[in-house]
């Protein structure tokens, strides 16, 4: 795969000009996560209004993939209802998952099978190339894992 398929212009834009960077004031929840693979960290702050994610922001440093993914995520998720947000998370996860074959050998030697782009995901499709790089998937997922934890915590302490 050419490198430019991984490092698309859109990611460049989000990396250089991250959206929603910082902390949400009066956040209901904040989640701090570390990528065990490289040590990169992220702090995600979220405010809810009833069942809606009314505001969110992220802080932290990391590689292009993790930063752009976090920025894109906040843009996509902010303003969504919790159920809709969960749907997006699922779609995003599905996009990054290599399709696993019945036979273990095939899984490994075959290149990642590109799924058809998921229109619902809009700009997030720019991260599709990451599924070729399982270790970088962890970078792309870091912000999303924080979001999942936030939603989990919210469920437990409504």
């Amino acid at each position: 795969m050419a490198l430019d398929e991984l490092y698309q212009e859109i990611l460049l834009d989000h990396y250089k000009h991250p959206r929603n960077k910082g902390r949400v004031e009066n956040a209901d929840l904040s989640v701090e996560l570390k990528n065990p693979f490289c040590g990169d960290e992220i702090l995600l702050t979220v405010r809810f209004e009833q069942d809606k994610i009314s505001d969110m922001a992220f802080e932290g440093q990391g590689c292009v993939i993790s930063q752009a993914s976090a920025s894109l995520m906040t843009e996509k998720i902010k303003g969504l209802g919790i159920d809709d947000a969960k749907q997006v998370i699922e779609r995003f996860q599905r996009m990054l998952k290599r399709e696993e074959d019945e036979h273990s050998d095939a899984v490994c030697s075959a290149a990642c099978r590109h799924h058809a782009s998921d229109e619902e995901l809009d700009e997030l499709n720019a991260l599709q190339g990451v599924c070729e790089y399982p270790s970088r998937v962890k970078c792309a997922m870091l912000a999303w894992r924080s979001l999942m934890q936030a939603l989990e915590q919210r469920k437990q302490t409504p």
């Binding site: 570390k34 065990p36 036979h103 050998d105 490994c108």
Partner: protein
């Protein structure tokens, strides 16, 4: 669908050696031979995909990581675990049991708690529990076995009480070949509020293991007894248990955040795998499972059991040979002795006749004690053995009787 043993043997390089002509290997319970496909899978890994997993992001390391994790998924599928994270790679059954013992029992057991095992256990499913009991103040209880080599189920139910926190038993005994009534034991243990660990070292090679159907909490087995390579084993654990338990070994990839004086753990399954893992071993195990599934575990089970039955019958018919273990509920592992001849001498004689059996206590000193023997000879059968092998064993035993006559 009987197994075509002649064809199968051709898959095993060891049996193709010139000096193995007419040679009968009856020690698969100690370790099995390896088919070509398993060696090929490991060679392919080393020759084309070797890199350290989970640590680097260049393409080769990605592939190594994928191969390792695909092997984990292959194991999950083989034993029908609910989730891939429930498969922990270890070195062998012994380490798997130690991990459950120190990581779970060592952390949660308290004085007054009880661990229930049997007198028929392999030392690997006995000594770790002794140690855990010493460190936690828990008590170790033993189910005995009867003259036929069956666990005394009445005693099992009596010993199982509100203080029993864990029942740890082998599915199949490696010394007497007994197959225990696992389903009933697990159900009873769960009713009593106890967890169950199954030592499947001997059963996993011979019968389909469905961990969800069995409803066991921990299961341990070794690759090397089921056509796989040495140096890799598995601990299956229910996710919630693996989550709450401690690691046994520390360092490398099992960490989350490391500070000077404290450390958090990585997610499952990596939390329980410290240091560089045996990736090639995992790949070899996956190939072994492919081979087993290709033949079909049901066919293998039927074949192996038939050989075990046949061996029991033929050996029982030889005057002076004493066979241990129950006539039914018996796997392809047969322990026996020739009257007044030490099994070491017997095994050495059989070896001259090109029949390889094991002699010793089979890591079951408590069993030997109860049988009131120092040791036994043991023949164990697997998918590359056939009826002719059983006959060869029986014939060699007749010759042994003859040879040792003057020693009596």
């Amino acid at each position: 669908m009987a197994l075509e043993v002649d064809k199968i043997r051709r898959d095993f390089p060891l049996f193709q050696q010139a000096d193995k002509e007419g040679w009968v290997y009856l020690d698969s319970a100690a370790t099995s031979q390896k088919p070509r496909s398993v060696l090929a899978a490991m060679n392919q890994f080393y020759e084309q995909e070797n890199a350290n997993a989970h640590r680097s992001s260049y393409a080769l390391a990605e592939r190594a990581t994928l191969r390792y994790e695909a092997a984990r998924e292959r194991v999950r599928r083989f034993i029908n675990a609910a989730a891939t994270e429930e498969i922990i790679f270890t070195r062998n059954t012994t380490e798997s049991i130690n991990l459950a013992a120190f990581g779970w029992a060592g952390k949660f057991l308290r004085p007054g708690d009880e661990i229930l095992i049997s007198e028929m256990e392999h030392h690997s499913n006995l000594v770790p529990w002794q140690r855990v009991c010493q460190s936690t103040g828990a008590q170790l209880k033993f189910v005995e076995f009867d003259e036929q080599g069956r666990l005394v189920m009445k005693q099992f139910h009596q010993l199982l009480g509100p203080r029993t926190r864990l029942v740890a038993v082998a599915h199949m005994s490696n010394s007497l070949g007994t197959i225990h009534p696992m389903e009933a034991m697990i159900a009873a243990a769960h009713r009593a509020g106890s967890l169950v660990l199954i030592d499947a070292a001997q059963s996993a090679p011979h019968a389909r293991l469905d961990v969800q159907a069995l409803d066991a909490d921990f299961i341990a087995f070794s690759a090397h007894k089921m056509l796989g390579p040495l140096g890799i084993g598995v601990l299956y654990g229910r996710r919630s248990l693996l989550e709450e338990m401690d690691p046994l070994l520390f360092g490398g990839n099992m960490i989350g955040r490391v500070e000077h004086l404290k450390t958090t753990w990585n997610d499952l399954p990596w939390k329980l795998e410290a240091g560089t893992q045996n990736l090639a071993g995992a790949v070899g195990l996956a190939a072994a499972l492919d081979y087993l599934d290709e033949l079909g575990m049901e066919a293998i089970e039927a074949h192996d059991r038939m050989l075990g039955q046949m061996a029991i019958q033929q050996l029982c018919a030889i005057p002076g040979i004493r066979v241990y273990g129950p006539p039914d509920a018996h796997g392809p592992v047969v322990s026996f002795n020739l009257e007044n001849i030490h099994p070491h001498d017997l095994a050495t004689f059989l070896d001259q006749e090109r029949v390889a059996v094991r002699s010793g206590h089979h890591c079951c000193q408590l069993v030997m004690k109860r049988l009131r023997v120092a040791a036994t000879a043991r023949a164990s059968f697997y998918l590359y053995n056939d009826e002719e092998d059983v006959r060869r064993l029986a014939a060699a035993l007749y010759q042994a009787k003859d040879y040792f006559k003057k020693w009596l």
